[in-house]
């Protein structure tokens, strides 16, 4: 069982107890765990909506819920999953916890601002939960006008206010990260010795800081038009609903990179650790993260190809959309090249990382379909697009998140998760995911529109397959939830560096002390220098 020595050594978890020590903590590690609890709750709420949607779509007729309710289900599924799970997930949990440790800092630059960010997410989440319980909103997570401003009678304002507040949590986290990375690196930690996880979060923070405010002003304008009848997007007074779409997608496309870039950072760490080899083309992979963040701001018009945007703007945005595909392709090639001549071991984090590369490749390549103007006419607003973005969000971002959770769980809690169950759930999730979303590509090209409560009978077989997959996926997600909690009590005692990884966070104890390091580390070698790590362990061992 647990040795006495480990028990009394002080670390960030047993340094202080009580509700106040958690709700008023300024420790970035504790705030990371607070975020973990919050977004796990939001994930399962969003997942419940997804399950209801898939069960409804078992039959062509709308026989489980009314159309009104179905529209609220897919809207709240979108809102909860995107704004309250995917956007905060890795930056808020793993980023908050490990970014300071990876660059040798004692904490983020603005700890109180970090705690405020968590409260903003919680308050925003409560507003959205209130909107759901009070009656729900049925505008889709995109809130297109004039439906959202004049025709919808759902709780648009409460949900929009929730997203508005949660948006500031994202902005302030991004701001905190950028200042920390610029100003608080340990001695010797130059830009090109930083782990790629930190590079990915630097790029993500750029998007959070530069993009989210435009969503905030769009929500304010929507609020002004719906409540005070100001005529900003109102076609009757000469306004243009397409202008709302421009402002909305200016943020919402870069937002998909906020969701996937941190996962790319996690995968870079995991692939390198479990191949015991430096990432192939470290600088290229680092710069490709920043390139994705920058180019991600030039492409939003590919959401508007058939929505009334001019032909020439469509061509400009389609052309630019192909530029943003290149850095993602480069990353996939570099990860695969890292495996070459490595010493690969297959613990659970590695399974999730390899799963990420496979599914993200399919997700990314189908992105080339929807960026081609000719094909997008046919597939936009159909299940082809639904499948594309689920391959990136669930196949990519969520797999990366789970991989990161398994990779750093020993460091966060001082406990090992059960390897057998973890591998099983990874496999179940991979199979369930593909069974759920691959049929949707076919459904989409067949022409089944998205957000349909009722569909023609010839689409039923593929929908039944997709629902079957969804139930497997739901089971797959439940298993980690159970054994992670189980491991807190009964998990094996975790050593400081269970995987033989090279990051600074692995050079301190598990779980780490309150100020991360006994004394600030001095960095002398590159990011993934396994040779000197093995040499040091040989000396100590």
């Amino acid at each position: 069982m647990i040795t006495a020595a480990a028990q009394e050594r002080e670390h960030y978890l047993n340094a202080s107890y009580g509700l106040k020590s958690w709700l008023l903590t300024k420790d970035h590690k504790r705030i990371g765990l607070l975020y973990l609890a919050t977004i796990t709750l939001f994930f399962f709420i969003g997942g419940a909506f997804a399950t209801l949607i898939r069960v409804e779509l078992l039959t062509p007729q709308g026989d489980l819920v009314s159309s009104e309710t179905y529209n609220k289900l897919f809207t709240m599924h979108g809102v909860m999953m995107i704004f309250f799970f995917l956007i905060p997930s890795i930056p808020a949990v793993l980023g908050n916890f490990f970014l300071p440790m990876m660059i040798g800092a004692r904490d983020l630059a603005f700890p109180k601002l970090n705690l405020l960010s968590w409260y903003l997410l919680v308050v925003g989440g409560l507003f959205s939960l209130y909107a759901m319980l009070a009656g729900g909103v049925d505008t889709g997570w995109t809130f297109y006008t004039p439906y959202s401003t004049t025709y919808s009678n759902g709780y648009v304002i409460a949900t929009a206010l929730g997203i508005f507040i949660a948006g500031f949590s994202s902005i302030l986290t991004g701001l905190n990260f950028i200042v920390t990375i610029h100003r608080m690196r340990a001695p010797g930690m130059t830009w090109f010795r930083m782990p790629l996880f930190v590079w990915a979060h630097y790029a993500t923070s750029l998007i959070q800081v530069l993009g989210t405010p435009v969503l905030a002003v769009t929500i304010v304008l929507l609020f002004l038009e719906r409540v005070f009848h100001l005529g900003i997007f109102d076609p009757a007074r000469g306004g243009d609903p397409v202008l709302f779409q421009h402002l909305f997608w200016f943020y919402s496309h870069p937002a998909v990179y906020i969701m996937v870039l941190p996962s790319m950072g996690v995968v870079s760490e995991i692939i390198s650790t479990f191949s015991r080899k430096a990432i192939f083309g470290y600088r290229i992979v680092a710069f490709s993260s920043v390139a994705i963040a920058v180019l991600g701001f030039l492409v939003w018009g590919h959401h508007l190809f058939v929505s009334g945007q001019s032909l020439y703007a469509g061509m400009v945005f389609s052309f630019l959309s192909y530029f943003v595909a290149i850095p993602s392709a480069i990353k996939v090639f570099n990860w695969t090249a890292t495996l070459y001549k490595g010493s690969i071991s297959f613990q659970t984090p590695m399974l999730y990382a390899l799963g990420f590369i496979g599914l993200f490749t399919i997700g990314g390549l189908t992105g080339l379909f929807v960026a081609a103007l000719g094909i997008d006419i046919h597939v936009t607003d159909t299940y082809f697009v639904v499948a594309h973005f689920h391959y990136i969000m669930v196949g990519g971002a969520l797999m990366g998140y789970l991989g990161g959770m398994h990779f750093w769980w020993p460091k966060m809690t001082g406990r090992m998760y059960p390897e057998g169950w973890a591998k099983l759930s990874a496999l179940v999730i991979f199979l369930g995911f593909n069974l759920t979303f691959f049929p949707q590509f076919i459904l989409g090209y067949l022409g089944m529109p998205r957000r349909y409560h009722v569909y023609p009978p010839e689409f039923q077989v593929l929908n039944v397959l997709s629902t079957a997959g969804a139930s497997v996926l739901a089971v797959g997600y439940m298993i980690p939830m159970i054994y992670f909690i189980w491991s807190l009590r009964y998990g094996k005692e975790a050593p400081a560096n269970p995987w033989g990884a090279t990051g600074l966070e692995w050079q301190t104890s598990s779980p780490p002390p309150v100020h991360n390091f006994e004394e600030t580390p001095v960095v002398t070698h590159g990011a993934y220098d396994y040779a000197s790590l093995m040499a040091e362990e040989a000396e100590v061992g």
């Binding site: 610029h182 001695p187 530069l210 421009h246 701001f297 939003w300 001019s310 032909l311 020439y312």
Partner: protein, 104 residues
């Protein structure tokens, strides 16, 4: 450590007074100029004067002159992203109707 040495350069009150006067004069000028018919050029002049005032406030009042290179880079980045938002949005609104097909 990677942070630059901070030399607090303190400007004289005289400098600030000069800047204030310049700003007030610029405000008067832009108000007066708006009455003169410069055709499409009047917007350019109005924006030009506003940019000059912005530079005065930013460089002197916000001490951008003494700030680190990083701070200046951040400011440039912000203005560049504002330009991205405006220009790419205008690629749509400026080219509507050229094809002669309603709605394209």
């Amino acid at each position: 450590m990677s942070h630059p040495p901070e030399q607090t350069h303190i400007d004289s009150v005289g400098t600030y007074v000069k800047i204030l006067l310049a700003l007030l004069v610029a405000t008067a000028v832009t108000t007066a100029v708006s009455r003169v018919d410069l055709g499409a050029f009047s917007t350019v002049v109005a924006l030009g004067i506003a940019c000059v005032k912005m530079l005065l406030v930013a460089l002197f009042f916000m001490h951008l002159r003494h700030s680190t290179k990083l701070t200046r880079l951040v400011v440039l980045g912000g203005l560049l992203w504002l330009a991205i938002l405006l220009l790419l949005t205008l690629t749509d609104f400026a080219t509507r109707g050229i094809l002669g097909v309603p709605g394209k």
